[in-house]
Symmetry: C3
Subunit: 364 residues, 3 copies
């Protein structure tokens, strides 16, 4: 418990934890103040995500390389998964899909681009392990192909089309999870030497004791789930109040909130000239969402959701995911970076954000 | 003749030759047993394709590098060409186009991916000549652009549109054949040193004497043509019996049958750590179908077919060919491989196969 | 003035200057002879573009590296800008957009491909600085994404859609100009050492004195503007007379005329085994059109044009720009070239030209 308090004292991000009780109190007192509840729940999720991420790393550090890597990879996007599950249970499939697509685009473009920019402002040219970057980009490309196909192959007859899309989504989900498992076998076991540098983790951080880490993992997951409920309920109404389109909220706001903790790690890696770490987190996170979170949500929707969810996305989202993946492939191909590479990648992100912000409400 | 018999004794694949007389007998006795005839014709085409491929290599080995390479490259996909010509004469343009697109996708993804996987299971990391792989991928990309354009540029007015697509297809076909010829001039003559390793051919195989090789080439081509006729007649009805969509049959089944012989060579190369050979066969075969077989079929359709055939494909097929080419480019870019690269490429293939299998009959 | 006359005597291209007075006389005497006026104005623009380009380089050479590079980059496509502005003022937005898309495609494919081919016919294999080529290709990719988004994200409701496309076009234009500025900061200031070779300029040419260069710049720009007016007025009617579709004229003819001067430099660089120069001019020119000329035209249309212009292109043009960029990325990735690479790139260009030539008039 001492370790937890010490961590909180030293990490200003965690001071935001004060908003966790605040959001629950506010929800009891003013359940109709959607905009307030939205802002408070965002402020509460960010430090919880950071705690979750630290707890996962601590458990991973204690359990040895293979199991640790597995845990780290699987729980790394727990925040996104919990938020999406809450939205799924509420039947808000458009929000779920927008947040999946948004998380992929935000991790690939914003996290990667900002890492390159922040690193490049400090170092003239940075080099990183391009073999692991390529592997990650390859996995991501595969996943994007799987997400693209149900939208690309349209079926004219709508009843047959719906059945087809549903069957296809289930089959693709199983395939993606298998690919994800094999990818971990490859990077953690058979060819782990290729990924040496990217897996090193944040040096200088003291891992928590096992009991504390596990308790934090369990407790914070419950808290994230509870706060997510407030978030999902308030987000649409708050968006209207801010004049944002629902697509913008799901794609940009939810994705940035869910990835806040990973971003902190990725940016700090870039500032320490450890771009391997940043690229690994950014592209790895995106592949994980596509290969693990998205298919799990499809399969879980058969149990938890009001109706089965498919992998069919809004065509604009497919185009954006595809461009994001191509950008990441092109950019990481050389294994070198400078500030302007970061600017280029961020610009692509801004083009997307701008488009979604301006999009009329009923167009997505 | 002795050499031929010896070859047959040593190569278990060739024992399937027994199905050649069986299929003709079956067709005489039970012309309505479509499913049986389909299975028998598949079993008969596979060993014939292997014989054809060996005969071509033997002729090539005897005629010196330049002419030999030319022959090898031009006759390498003779099986696919003969099957497609049979379907063309029967006016089954949908089957012809599906088998062209399917052969490109199957060669690029299945043959390449399985080679990487089979090689990677035996060797930790494999290296190959990436210059020739890039050249082949470049040629393939060009051809795919040519096949994509008639589908991308749609014309609203249907009468003018049909005339436009037809003119365009003929012009593109001529252009593709010119590009194919220049590509051979480049790889066999002006810059042959860049392709040294990929052109080495299967070591350890004894080429047949010229007379036997030429006689086999002629005789087997006639047999393939005759069996193809049975195959093309029975394939649609058999597909219905198996519950397969016509797109799946053309794209996956016909393509796998047609490429069986090349696959045997590509896989055996991969197991001998000669990935140059495997990559050369896989991507080379795909470019050849796109640059040579497809345009020849368009031009020949003016003579043999009931109406002229165009290069306009079903949009889903265009997306799949484009993704297959991009995958091959991304993957061969580094000149290194490990088992998981093969898994990734095969997964993309399985995504396509799954989609086509589930596709409702009238959607393509 | 002597320097100017000497230049004209030594450069046969400049003898075409005689067509400048001819075109003005012809327009006075025979204002209805559209085909004649079209041919004369093309013949007059080519030498004027060459003069403009030489004057810009002379000013750049005198003003030091940073300012010089800036001037060179900004005024390098002055001809295209002036022609497009003339078409803009006449409200011919389709011609403006076709000439933007055409200039990007022509520079990326025709100029690059012909440089590779011309260089490759003289040298067996040519090497060039692939870092700067990649940076340029990256910038170009970003710009194409910006031009692609307004066409990819379609809005069903037409009134809301038009407003959305207009707002988006203005925002994207500002973003592109910012990216363009940062790209120049990067290549001329913070990381200029990476671009050393590509910026060297044409050796052996004597720059003009400052006064002459500035006067030429001003005088020739006015002449180009005047000739452009004749060109824009006559081009549509002349195209009909030649049986060309308007898309072909804007995309191919206008683009080739506008880029004639840069092509002369790029080809001469390739023949001198200085492919850095050729690649820099070809891809640099294309990025400049996309990042600077296109957004400037959108912003200027609010002042000069009858209605605001958007960045929404004909879908076929978007596909072609995207393929052109992908081709340039794939091809420049290795930093090596041989004649067949040039053939491949030119073939893609010919596929596009052929398609546009055959396109029925009302289809774009």
């Amino acid at each position: 418990m001492n370790a937890l308090l010490k961590e909180i004292r030293h990490n200003p991000l965690l001071w935001l934890l004060v908003f966790v009780p605040v959001v629950f109190t506010a929800e009891k007192l003013k359940p109709e103040a959607h905009t307030l509840l939205f802002v408070l729940s965002v402020l509460a999720i960010v430090p919880l995500a950071a705690l979750l991420s630290h707890a996962t790393e601590s458990v991973a550090a204690k359990t040895g390389d293979a199991v640790g890597g597995l845990l780290n990879a699987t729980l790394g996007n727990l925040t996104e998964l919990v938020i999406a599950l809450t939205a799924l249970r509420a039947g808000q499939y458009m929000l779920v899909k927008a947040s999946i697509a948004g998380a992929i685009v935000t991790n690939t473009l914003f996290m990667l681009g900002a890492s390159f920019l922040l690193g490049g402002l400090k170092y003239h040219v940075q080099e990183y392990n391009r073999i692991s970057a390529r592997m990650q980009a390859g996995l991501l490309f595969l996943a994007i192909v799987a997400l693209l196909i149900p939208s690309a192959v349209s079926v004219a007859d709508s009843a047959a089309g719906a059945a087809f899309t549903q069957q296809l989504s289930v089959c693709l989900s199983v395939l993606l999870i298998v690919a994800y498992g094999l990818g971990m076998l490859f990077s953690l076991k058979t060819h782990c030497e290729l990924f040496a540098s990217a897996e090193a983790g944040e040096a200088g951080e003291v891992p928590w004791p096992m009991g504390l880490a596990l308790a934090t993992l369990a407790g914070v997951t419950v808290l994230v789930a509870l706060v997510s409920e407030v978030f999902v309920e308030s987000v649409q109404k708050a968006a209207e109040a801010f004049g944002m389109s629902p697509a913008f909220v799901g794609f940009i706001v939810v994705a940035l909130v869910g990835a806040a903790a990973e971003m902190a790690s990725a940016f700090s890696g870039a500032r320490k000239n450890r771009l391997d770490l940043s690229v690994g987190i950014a592209i790895g996170s995106a592949s994980q969402i596509a290969l693990f979170v998205a298919p799990v949500l499809v399969l879980v929707s058969y149990v938890l959701g009001p109706t089965p969810m498919t992998l069919q996305f809004w065509p604009g989202a497919v185009v954006m995911m595809l461009i994001a993946t191509l950008t990441a492939s092109l950019v990481t191909n050389s294994g070198r970076s400078a500030w302007f590479v970061g600017v280029l990648v961020l610009m692509v992100y801004m083009i997307f954000a701008m488009t979604l912000y301006l999009l009329p409400p009923r167009a997505q």
